[in-house]
């Protein structure tokens, strides 16, 4: 049971959090301008690196705020 640092509440147990996948995937400025393939990639495809990963978390059982955290997917360690 890891402790995860909520930027608003401080360290809390991981069960209080909801995982939101890769961070920084911007919603396309003009979805209509994308090809089907480009749009499909935006909807379905996410990076899955081994190592440092910027990802979205929500303190779902706490303040319910979303935040971005950096985690090593091999060690699970959060670096900020």
């Amino acid at each position: 049971m890891q402790l995860i640092e909520c930027p608003y509440c401080g360290p809390r147990e991981e069960v209080e959090f909801h995982y939101g996948g890769q961070a920084g995937v911007a919603y396309p400025a003009d979805p209509a301008a994308l090809t089907d393939e480009e749009w499909g990639r935006f909807v379905f495809v996410r990076a899955n690196p081994k190592g440092r990963f910027e990802e979205r978390w929500s303190h779902a059982a706490g303040c319910r705020r979303w935040f971005t955290a950096v985690r090593d997917t091999a060690t699970y360690r959060f670096s900020r």
Binding site: M1, Q2, P31, A32, D36, V43, R65, W66
Partner: protein, 915 residues
């Protein structure tokens, strides 16, 4: 009796009575079941699982691989170690052949959970752990000290001296000092069984099993969830036997275990003792047992050494090769390289394995120490310190130094690493509980297995209750020997929690039965119960499913009868439903309309205050995730109704988009599900009932049109009326705050009495909506269904530039005319009700050979009072184009012919909604 005067810490002034295998025995407070049995000379207490060989006690605490028993009294419990059962008056136990028997009566004991937070957690109250705890306490830390034994002191026997004093006095003084600290918590009889990330440790405290009778009101076991800044692992070491032929007989145990039996319980486990050791520690056992009156012969393969403890025992250089048994199956003699020796106890000691489980649980790497013949912690882990024997430091002075945080000079090793002697591999047991031998390992390596993890699973070595505490390293070593590779290249199998077996009851704690999951009830629950409602679980909610009336034969209506009656009453007169579980979210702010335009497929910002609009929500993939109505409250406020199951997920969905994509929108989201009770009053006479409730409101179709709402007051209580229909009938949803809900409901029932108002449940609601082709999200959809598939293109805006899911509608696959679409199905036989989930195939008189192409499946199926027949909704490939066609639904062995229809079967023209 083998109890020796002057030894042991049991309370001999008191006598406890217990029964084992139907025979009555006595013991004393402080005994375990094992020590008490051994005190009576009972050496055989179990039989092995596969080979039915007699087994006794091999080790004296939780590492014992053999002494599993069934407890009958005070409460039936299978497969407990006799060595860890504290003796209580009236205990009844029996031997088992490997498999126990679960209780057939409910366990009435209570199990609970507590949390503890500390700077320093020390696991193990032996010399190293005590000093570590004392050091931390003196530093001002909050300290938790846990130990799985009933008393602190670890492996101290009372013969040692610490700081010039009797070691046990030192233990008592240190405990007293710790207890005087306000921030030190000492938990005895508490096993730290799992160590997880960031200093999280789970420990099981056994609170009442040593008390007879168990006190009322005290939980039997407690799981401690401990979060520590620093974890000190001071868990000691397990002695390792040397494998010899027939090493599984009763009367064969580890050397230190026999010594512990003598000093802790005053039990001399044998009179003619052979000690076979390649390590100095067993000399203490030889000397102590000889001092207590046993005739002891010690065999050691090493040349004579000067630093071994002397005593009244014979020592010679030699090897034990095997054992022989007497008529009772227990050991009677040993075969050595110099001949046969009679004995009634054989002690084996091949050295010590650090108990590094808690270090390994958090992925601490172990390193093979060739001098030690064991794996020990091999790296530094942040937040974890391993001290004492768990760290491979086996001398008392070294343990005390490490406990204080110092690094002692390592002592020179004098032991010889010896895994086994020559003998028949099929009789050399490695894992006694699993009856697994050296021959089994040879079979595994012969079959080509090269990894200890594979060998473990092939031979089952290390998979029993003890998880290989004494056998694991031996298995690695013998595997390495057979493969001709160094043991360090193989490593050990992975240590995983739990360290000792933990009862599921303890893990469940109080969260069982009624408390397994929260139960949510509406403000009207008591009314529903009094009315005899049958409930169904919808998520955590208890919803009234139907209200059976007394039947003709003295019973009550079955569901089919009740639902047909409720459906008919609603379409003929008027009915009332408790719809309070529907999710409600108040969306407020200057940008609320713009926000909802992105969330819903249709336009919401154009909705005027006082109006209601139905909306569909999709995910990015364009598939429907929820639906419901939206009330515009004022310029900046909307009340969004979600499905019952969607209340929490849709709020999360909205929050996610608002916070992560559109933080510039000035909108707040508030769940008001619990604040509003909502009752649909439905049917041709609903106008009369609602008109009577709110005489100041003009409820005519002209003044109160469909999809509008008005606030009013009833006896000074604010009440909201909304003309929304989930049945196609004239209907009002009447909403009020939860506090006033029961009174308002009763009033509606009373006002409806002249019109035959009928309370109806979720089952009738489902039938009424299905007759109108209204889908239930999650029943008629499964995350792969678009609004177009549901025939709801009308609810998808073509004007809006964008909304969640819009781009996906334009994907080629979403335009495929062969997508599954929602249609109605009418069985040609109007009495046949299709089971929901049934597959649909092309029309056929005979089932073709598989594979049979599946066209879709039945999503909803009911008997309709309005239609006087059965009907169903289904998702069918290209279904909209198939209306009028006949298809086949295989049901059991039958082929049911059905006709595809539109999904709206009752009142397709919509003539009933205005009454």
């Amino acid at each position: 009796m083998t109890r020796v005067d002057g030894y042991g810490r049991v309370d001999r002034t008191r006598t406890l009575r217990f029964t084992f295998d139907g025979v009555s025995y006595t013991g004393h407070p402080g005994d375990t079941l094992a020590s008490a049995l051994l005190a009576h000379g009972v050496r055989t207490i179990a039989r092995s699982v596969k080979q039915d060989r007699p087994r006794g006690v091999t080790a004296v605490w939780s590492e014992d691989p053999t002494g599993l028993v069934q407890v009958e009294e005070p409460f039936p419990e299978p497969m407990l170690l006799a060595t860890t059962i504290e003796l209580v008056d009236g205990l009844v136990a029996s031997s088992i052949g490997g498999r126990g028997r679960l209780a057939e009566v409910p366990d009435t004991a209570r199990y609970d959970r507590r949390y503890a937070h500390c700077e320093t957690l020390v696991v193990g109250a032996g010399p190293a752990g005590l000093l570590a705890a004392r050091t931390a306490a003196r530093r001002g830390d909050r300290v938790v000290l846990v130990d799985d034994r009933p008393a602190a002191g670890g492996s101290l026997t009372g013969t040692e001296r610490i700081c010039g004093r009797d070691a046990l006095d030192f233990v008592a003084d240190t405990l007293a000092e710790l207890r005087a600290h306000p921030d030190v918590r000492i938990l005895l009889r508490t096993t730290a069984f799992g160590h997880y990330d960031d200093g999280f440790v789970l420990a099981l405290e056994r609170r009442t099993d040593h008390l007879a009778p168990a006190p009322q009101g005290l939980s039997r076991q407690r799981v401690w969830r401990i979060r520590a800044g620093h974890v000190v692992v001071a868990t000691g070491a397990h002695e390792r036997p040397i494998v010899v032929a027939d090493n599984d007989r009763p009367g064969i145990m580890l050397a230190a275990s026999a010594r512990d039996l003598l000093h802790r319980y005053g039990v001399l486990a044998g009179r003619r003792v052979v000690v076979f050791t390649s390590d100095d520690a067993a000399y203490d056992a030889a000397a102590d047992l000889a001092g207590a009156g046993a005739e002891v012969t010690l065999l050691d393969p090493r040349p004579v050494r000067g630093d071994s403890r002397s005593g009244d025992y014979r020592r010679s250089r030699g090897l034990v090769l095997g054992t022989g048994a007497g008529p009772d199956g227990a050991i009677s003699h040993v075969f050595t390289d110099q001949g046969e020796l009679p004995c009634d106890l054989l002690l084996l000691s091949g050295g010590w394995n650090p108990t590094s489980h808690l270090f390994s649980h958090v992925r601490g790497a172990l390193r093979y120490d060739a001098e030690l013949g064991a794996f020990r912690p091999g790296e530094a882990l942040a937040g974890v310190t391993v001290v004492g024997a768990a760290n491979g430091t086996f001398d008392l002075a070294g343990c005390l130094a490490e406990g204080r945080g110092e690094t002692p000079e390592p002592l020179p090793r004098t032991n010889l690493v010896l895994w086994r002697t020559d003998g028949d591999p099929a009789r050399q047991y490695v894992d006694l509980q699993r009856d697994s031998t050296v021959a089994d390992i040879a079979r595994a390596t012969g079959a080509g297995l090269r990894s200890v993890e594979h060998v473990k699973r092939y031979t089952t070595i290390g998979t029993a209750h003890d998880q290989g505490k004494t056998s694991g390293v031996l298995a690695s070593a013998i595997t390495a020997e057979l493969l001709g590779v160094p043991i360090e290249s193989l490593g050990t199998t992975t240590f995983r929690p739990p360290y000792t077996p933990i009862a599921f009851a303890a893990l469940a704690g109080r969260e069982r039965g009624q408390l397994f999951d929260p139960v949510r009830t509406t403000a009207l629950h008591a009314w529903h119960v009094a009315r005899g409602a049958v409930f169904e679980d919808v998520g955590q909610w208890k919803r009234a499913r139907y209200y059976p009336l007394p039947g003709e034969a003295g019973g009550t209506e079955d569901m089919d009868t009740a639902v047909l009656r409720e459906c008919a009453a609603v379409r003929r007169d008027v009915g009332i439903l408790d719809g309070s579980t529907l999710g409600k979210i108040e969306v407020r702010g200057p940008d609320a309309g713009a926000f909802l335009d992105m969330i819903y497929t249709n336009l919401m910002s154009s909705l005027r205050p006082g109006r209601v609009r139905y909306g569909v929500m999709c995910g990015l993939d364009g598939m429907v995730i929820d639906d419901g109505t939206v009330l515009r409250l004022d310029d900046e406020g909307f009340l969004v109704y979600t499905t019952t199951g969607g209340a929490a997920p849709i709020l999360d969905h909205m929050e996610e988009w608002l916070q992560t994509e559109w933080p510039h929108l000035r909108v707040t989201l508030t769940s008001v599900t619990e604040q509003w009770a909502t009752f649909p009053v439905v049917g041709p006479r609903s106008r009369d009932v609602v008109g009577a409730l709110a005489p100041h409101v003009d409820v005519s179709a002209a003044a109160f049109p469909f999809m509008t709402w008005q606030d009013t007051e009833v006896d000074g209580v604010p009440v909201r009326l909304a003309r929304i229909s989930f049945s196609g009938e004239l209907a009002w949803e009447v909403s009020v705050d939860g506090w006033h809900a029961p009174a308002l409901w009763r009033r509606l029932i009373a006002l409806g009495e002249p019109y035959g108002i009928t309370p109806y449940g979720t089952e009738t609601m489902h039938v009424l909506r299905a007759e109108k082709g209204y889908p239930i999200i999650g029943q008629d959809t499964d995350g792969t269904v678009s609004p177009q598939d549901l025939g709801m293109s009308w609810a998808v805006s073509t004007k809006k530039v964008d909304f969640i899911g819009k781009r996906s509608f334009a994907r080629a696959e979403n335009r495929n005319p062969l997508r599954k679409q929602l249609v109605g199905l009418l069985p040609l036989d109007p009495t046949v009700k299709l089971p929901e989930g049934s597959q649909i195939i092309e029309q056929t008189a005979e089932l073709p050979p598989p594979p049979v192409p599946m066209l879709g499946h039945v999503t909803s199926s009911y008997r309709s009072a309005a239609l006087g027949r059965t009907f169903a909704l289904a998702l069918v490939k290209g279904g909209h184009a198939r209306i009028g066609e006949r298809l086949t639904v295989p049901v059991g062995g039958d082929l049911v012919p059905v006709e595809v229809t539109g999904s709206v079967l009752v009142d397709p023209e919509g003539t009933r909604r205005d009454g």
